[in-house]
């Protein structure tokens, strides 16, 4: 029997955890549980990145998701009629279509993973400090325009959304 390396074990373990928490998102009726299950699914993906020696990406994923999913939790609680899931509300709908869409998407992703020519595998990975330095140079050099444009677009969208929310709409009720 071939020995499984610790790295393979951890990546598989957190991969399965990510899938399991993803399932929990739809199994529960509580908005809080749903949001936090999604958080832990994303955290597990962050742990997978760390397992794949992409430390910066992993830690960043673990950090960002905690705030984002907490914000999502409060919006879900605010906007859903039955946030605790104690009533009879059903979160699922259009089940047949969802199942078909899900299966097609899954098969497409598997096909992409299997049939893409990924090129030669990197023999060694630079250490974490070097990765961070490379990433910094990349972000401040070649990719700067892309990231700054994306950042500015997001900021504009946020300001616009806030402005729309703050300004009371004068509806003409005729």
């Amino acid at each position: 029997m071939a020995m499984i390396s610790a790295q393979t074990f951890f990546i598989s373990f957190f991969g399965l955890a990510a899938v399991w928490f993803g399932i929990v998102v739809f199994r529960t009726h509580s908005m809080m549980r749903s949001a936090l299950a999604l958080l832990f699914s994303q955290t597990a993906i962050g742990a997978m990145f760390i397992g794949m020696q992409a430390e910066f990406l992993g830690v960043l994923q673990i950090m960002m998701m905690a705030t984002e999913m907490s914000i999502m939790a409060i919006f879900m609680v605010m906007f859903m009629m039955d946030p605790g899931g104690l009533g009879k509300m059903d979160m699922t709908h259009q089940k047949r279509r969802s199942v078909i869409t899900g299966l097609v998407a899954f098969l497409a992703i598997v096909a992409v993973a299997l049939f893409t020519n990924w090129g030669t595998l990197a023999g060694s990975v630079p250490d974490s400090a070097q990765q961070i330095e490379d990433l910094g140079l990349e972000l401040m050099g070649r990719s700067m325009l892309i990231f700054e444009t994306a950042g500015l677009t997001l900021l504009t969208a946020m300001i616009a959304a806030t402005a729309v929310a703050v300004e009371p709409l004068k509806r003409n009720r005729n």
Binding site: M32, R33, S70
Partner: protein, 298 residues
């Protein structure tokens, strides 16, 4: 070995935080009080409220403690005394501390109580705002050190401590650390007088003991973070490195706790507008000024 030693030091630190906190509240040095209070809590019944979200209710105090402990793993107390010197150390501290928010949301939602829930959601608003004041001053600290390694950050302050190099960043980070540890006057989450304990309200017995321990460890971890980022870490004349770390951490802890009883609790809306309208522009200014300083005085 290092891990065991640091855990022991954190336990001693948590005890000292409790002693100092009692001293700031009633002006007396009650050295046995934290221990007797702990034993009393452990001896009491740990009540589970009606219709709780049991998973959140049980996980929240433990998660609070774990996040505070995880943040402490990348903080160097002496040049060699650090559990893991991660290349992403600074980012890792933020990542660990954000789970304090998750823990308090769980503690707010889990017990199915109105006061607890208000406390939890209050902390959400508070932390989303003040997490910016953690991350942005830290960016300026990393800019000067040209590294995310916490040990590198300490050695970058050999000539001049960051409290003098970037005083604005220090003030912002200090305030944000107090808000993150929900210390008075930012204790809207627990607010004894208006929310009857807030997120703590429905906890009792051993669960409350774990919750309070988590909070004490969080305070000492944040004090150690301030020392590492702004007060030159273990560096100082005459005394050995561990002594300097200990003195500085305890002094910062005392300062964080002393501010509370002297000031009235800030209103939620004021707290948030203070951060978004004043704190964040100042933090951006701090990054800009430190950027210029780094270019001018390399």
């Amino acid at each position: 070995m290092t891990t065991a030693l640091i855990l022991l030091l954190l336990a001693v630190g948590a005890y000292l935080v409790a002693v100092i906190e009692a001293w700031t509240m009633n002006g007396r040095w009650q050295l046995a009080a934290p221990i007797t209070a702990g034993i009393a809590l452990l001896g009491r019944e740990s009540i589970v409220p009606r219709k709780p979200d049991r998973v959140f209710f049980e996980v929240a105090p433990v998660l609070l403690l774990i996040s505070a402990l995880l943040a402490a793993t990348v903080l160097p107390l002496t040049p060699g005394l650090i559990i893991t010197d991660l290349a992403t150390g600074v980012l890792f501290i933020n990542a660990a501390l954000v789970y304090v928010l998750v823990a308090l949301l769980m503690a707010g939602w889990g017990p199915n109580g109105a006061y607890a829930m208000i406390g939890g959601w209050r902390f959400l608003g508070q932390l989303i705002a003040y997490a910016m004041l953690i991350v942005m001053p830290v960016t300026a600290v990393a800019m000067r050190a040209e590294s995310l390694l916490t040990t590198q950050i300490v050695t970058s302050q050999a000539d001049l401590w960051n409290i003098l190099y970037q005083p604005l960043g220090f003030v912002l980070f200090f305030v944000a650390a107090m808000a993150l540890a929900f210390l008075p006057p930012f204790d809207l989450t627990t607010a004894t007088s208006e929310l009857a304990g807030g997120v703590e309200a429905e906890y009792s017995g051993v669960r409350l003991a774990v919750f309070r321990l988590g909070r004490l460890v969080l305070v000492i971890t944040l004090a150690a973070t301030i020392v590492v980022f702004y007060l030159g870490g273990w560096q100082g004349p005459w005394l050995p490195p561990w002594a300097w770390s200990a003195i500085k951490i305890l002094a910062v802890t005392a300062l964080m706790l002393l501010a509370g009883p002297a000031l009235p609790r800030v209103r939620e809306a004021d707290l948030l507008s203070l951060c978004w309208k004043l704190g964040i522009p100042l933090a951006l200014l701090n990054i800009f000024v430190v950027g210029l300083q780094v270019l001018v005085w390399p």
